[in-house]
């Protein structure tokens, strides 16, 4: 991208056919992406789940865990209950719809916090190198070595009655390392580029170089990994819920539904099926979106 811009300027001066639109990596990527059907399928799926999370009323008039009839417990799908009923006879469809919010919220919040940590620590480590880099690398290694499920369980069991906020904190604590490593690698690849040297010779300060020159050119792969990370966080959160150490009843989430379903899956597979399908479809859409963005941003494949 940095190579293309001077060329564009040169052609423009020569009076070549140039539109007002400046070519950039992001614009090229967007042009690549919008022609793909799979990209739009993923966007549609995520828009649907996003809408469910934002305004569940659009999808169901029922609140969660109300109008439950224990005589109707674990009934299969029917006209009155589209997704059947859960172990207490509550409407499963309403449960699935309301489960979207905590699931999505945690996925996005954790990734945003991890992204901020990654940009700050990764830039500092990659740009300055030396002792600072070594220290950050070792701290990253320390956290990277913690087993995810066991580490999270230790913390969560010590704080019973935790909600979405505590879950976010724990998942950030155990999941920030991967993006830091990628950011660091990207910054190292960019920091000695000619345009960075040029900016330095012109007297730009370190913060300015990092913000204006290094960051925009190093961030793309990190954003791709961040997209994939939202999916991974959602799956990780569901795993903790499933093990019974994550969110607790009466909170709702897809993972918690799967936790409550686990003893009954043999006879009542719909209890496993519906939350699992929504969970998988959401994670899948995020993974495919990340993959598509990676392909679109990587000029090598074009």
């Amino acid at each position: 991208m940095s190579v293309q811009e001077p060329e564009t300027a040169a052609v423009a001066e020569a009076g070549g056919p140039i539109s007002d639109v400046r070519a950039s990596l992001w614009r090229d990527a967007w042009y690549e992406l919008r022609r793909r059907r799979l990209f739009w399928v993923c966007v549609a799926e995520l828009a649907l789940v996003g809408l469910m999370a934002a305004v569940p009323r659009l999808f169901t008039g029922r609140a969660v865990n109300t109008d439950c009839d224990p005589n109707q417990a674990k009934a299969g799908p029917s006209g009155a209950h589209w997704f059947g009923t859960d172990t207490a006879g509550c409407d499963y469809y309403a449960h699935v719809v309301h489960g979207a919010r905590p699931t999505l919220l945690i996925g996005i919040a954790v990734t945003l916090f991890a992204l901020v940590i990654a940009v700050v620590l990764g830039s500092l480590a990659g740009y300055y190198g030396g002792l600072l880099d070594a220290v950050i690398a070792r701290i990253t290694d320390v956290f990277f070595g913690l087993p995810f499920v066991l580490g999270a369980t230790v913390i969560l069991v010590a704080f019973p009655g935790h909600g979405v906020g505590a879950m976010t904190l724990v998942l950030v604590l155990l999941g920030w390392t991967t993006m830091v490593r990628i950011m660091r690698g990207q910054v190292i690849a960019v920091r000695d580029a000619d345009y960075v040297q040029a900016a330095r010779l012109l007297g730009a300060s370190d913060p300015r170089i990092m913000r204006r020159h290094v960051l925009p050119n190093a961030i793309a792969p990190v954003l791709v990994v961040a997209t994939l990370n939202v999916g991974n966080v959602i799956a990780g959160e569901a795993t903790l819920d499933f093990l019974g150490v994550g969110l607790q009843y009466p909170q709702v989430s897809w993972g918690l539904q799967l936790n409550q379903a686990q003893s009954y899956v043999l006879d009542h597979p719909h209890l496993l099926l519906f939350p699992a399908v929504f969970l998988t479809a959401t994670v899948l859409a995020l993974l495919l979106l990340g993959d598509a963005a990676r392909d679109a941003l990587d000029p090598k494949l074009r």
Binding site: D141, G145, L146, P147, L150, G151, I155, F242, L258, T280
Partner: protein, 308 residues
């Protein structure tokens, strides 16, 4: 090479100390007093509580406790649980189960993952490639417990091809289904890594040279392209072995395998700190040692690394 090996070894020491200290702090500074938990509903006399605290070093500052623990570990002593059992005895039989499960999963990843990756990489952009890419993405997206229950339901109960739970049939039969479930995530990454790496290397100059001098295609793929393509795969497989050991807890639960993960999970809820710290410390040790071995192997495979 020796300088490189020594440097990696020296880097591993602070990481080991840091990670174990972190675990130690997490287990022993978080709320919940183990002695009160041990006593249950009936209050115990202050003198007894004091004696117990003294016995488990709970009166020392945390760093002193940690140092004493590390000193014991150095002598092969994992300490004693609050009920008087040796932690090492509690874990002995369980390591075998978890290790067998992890090895089964790992072999599955290695064999099937590389094969699928080569298949897709040689046919980039064609049907085989699309199938492998789509299938692996789907596997990554399905949470492991959904996969586990589905596999158990289909292949253990509905069509009983393989044992659905327990370890009665021994290795490998009892471990096949859980191993495949546990290894499926890694399999997807291995297949995708192999595919991308192979497809890229097939376009390299040295492959064209090998073709030009008349080598048969099979030999070019196996001896030239694949060999170089497997370097990142080896790294991934190495790192993943550590994750398989530590991440087996969900699979162990579904398939009722009495492994380390199950024990630690129970102990966390019973606030048996010494057991948790002992088992997780050993898991971290496995993780770090395997990573070290992979890095050394990487240095052997790729000279650019060791001269950096």
């Amino acid at each position: 090479m020796w300088r490189y090996a020594l440097r990696r070894l020296l880097q591993a020491v602070p990481v080991f100390l840091g990670t174990t200290l972190l675990i130690y702090l997490m287990v022993f500074t978080l709320p919940g007093d183990p002695i009160t938990a041990l006593a249950g509903d009936k209050p115990i006399p202050a003198s007894v509580a004091h004696a117990l605290r003294e016995r488990y070093n709970l009166n020392d500052p945390l760093l002193v406790q940690y140092a004493k623990y590390m000193w014991g570990l150095l002598h092969g002593d994992l300490g004693e649980n609050y009920d008087g059992q040796r932690v090492a005895d509690m874990l002995t039989g369980r390591w075998g189960v978890t290790a067998r499960l992890a090895v089964t999963a790992w072999l599955f990843e290695l064999a099937v993952g590389v094969a699928l990756g080569v298949w897709a990489g040689l046919r980039r952009g064609r049907l085989a490639d699309t199938l492998v890419l789509g299938g692996t993405t789907l596997i990554i997206a399905v949470p492991v417990f959904v996969l586990g229950y589905s596999a158990q339901l289909l292949f253990g109960v509905k069509w009983p091809i393989l044992p659905s739970a327990g370890t009665d049939d021994g290795w490998p039969v009892s471990y096949l289904l859980p191993g495949i479930v546990l290894g499926s995530l890694g399999l997807s990454y291995v297949a995708r890594l192999t595919r991308t790496s192979l497809a890229e290397n097939l376009r390299a100059d040295y492959v064209r040279t090998a073709r030009a001098k008349g080598l048969p295609w099979r030999r070019v793929v196996v001896r030239h392209a694949l060999r170089n393509s497997l370097i990142p795969v080896v790294t991934y497989l190495g790192i993943d072995f550590g994750s398989l050991m530590g991440g087996a807890i969900v699979t162990e639960g579904i398939f009722n395998l009495p492994g380390v993960g199950q024990q630690v999970f129970q102990s966390i809820q019973l606030k048996e700190g010494p057991v948790v710290v002992g088992a997780v410390t050993l898991l971290v040790l496995v993780f770090i040692v395997v990573n070290l071995l992979v890095d050394l192997l990487y240095g052997l495979l790729d000279p650019r690394i060791r001269y950096q």
